[in-house]
Symmetry: C2
Amino acid sequence: MKELQQKVKDEGVVIAGSVLKVDAFLNHQIDAQLMKKVADHFYEHFKNKGVTKILTIEASGIAPSIMAALAFNVPCLFAKKAVPSTLTEEVYTTDIHSYTKNKTSHVVISQKFLSAEDKVLIIDDFLANGEAALGLYDLVKQAGADCIGIGIVIEKSFQPGADRLKSEGLDVLSLCRIASLEGDKVTLIGEEE
Amino acid sequence: MKELQQKVKDEGVVIAGSVLKVDAFLNHQIDAQLMKKVADHFYEHFKNKGVTKILTIEASGIAPSIMAALAFNVPCLFAKKAVPSTLTEEVYTTDIHSYTKNKTSHVVISQKFLSAEDKVLIIDDFLANGEAALGLYDLVKQAGADCIGIGIVIEKSFQPGADRLKSEGLDVLSLCRIASLEGDKVTLIGEEE
């Protein structure tokens, strides 16, 4: 997705050689028009798969997911990183480790909102080691639902997440694929020397 | 907003006489079409105020806010409840207490994304005691920006939040106003005996 890729190059900031900060349009301030276009790309790719639900994880996954939910005309469900006091019924849970935050979250969704009849599109803002997407996939499997694919806004292709998901047989669509952040510079797939 | 009010009555669950659980369409599973209509109502009310930015707080404020950002064609900024490692520049901070969670969060936004030129519309999913909205208003004032109003999806009108905001001279638009949750039943403003 050209516009997104240009935005990542123009406004992304590389920290410590491996962390990409995109808080100008995705992780803190959010470009709503861009999120709508991101969602349209997900829709174009997955529209014939019978998607019944979008699944993501709070908080930065919500913006692209709610736009995708609008495009697919299905509900969006976001996994929570802490069990709220209002979540009193049965839950599916999994542990997701964030390398960036060096923290493992015990993630939950209510069993009410995911069933064996669902065809789930998982969406997230970033794919690096694949921990979040694999955790969400685990929740889908616990529900006996079908995961029809994974939509990712930004993939750090030099980390193993995409390969881990594909080795599970999952259809992964990443709209911006980063080959390297070496020299504190964003190099996209296809731009390598 | 009739459709929202009906949804709250049909799908909202009252817990312990004072907490309203709306995780079927707002706080866990999200109804994207409904969020778009919510945003359209905010737009209709505030469209002539020169809004330059939508401000909310993670996580449940993001869905209505990103839809509003799309309607107003401005960026959405969400305050974070923890300082991420990637947030390395100067921040505005405030403390927000959640009575439901019995927890005070040290909330931050990057100074980069809010300036004295901004006209800010604050949006949140719930208004009860007003802690979150007043905290966000505090961030707007720290930036020297102008707060043109507050858009709320569900207001618990029997709690003091709305009055606290209005006593600051703020224009508060709440799309569903709840008079009481007594008897574990949702009674809207206008429905009281």
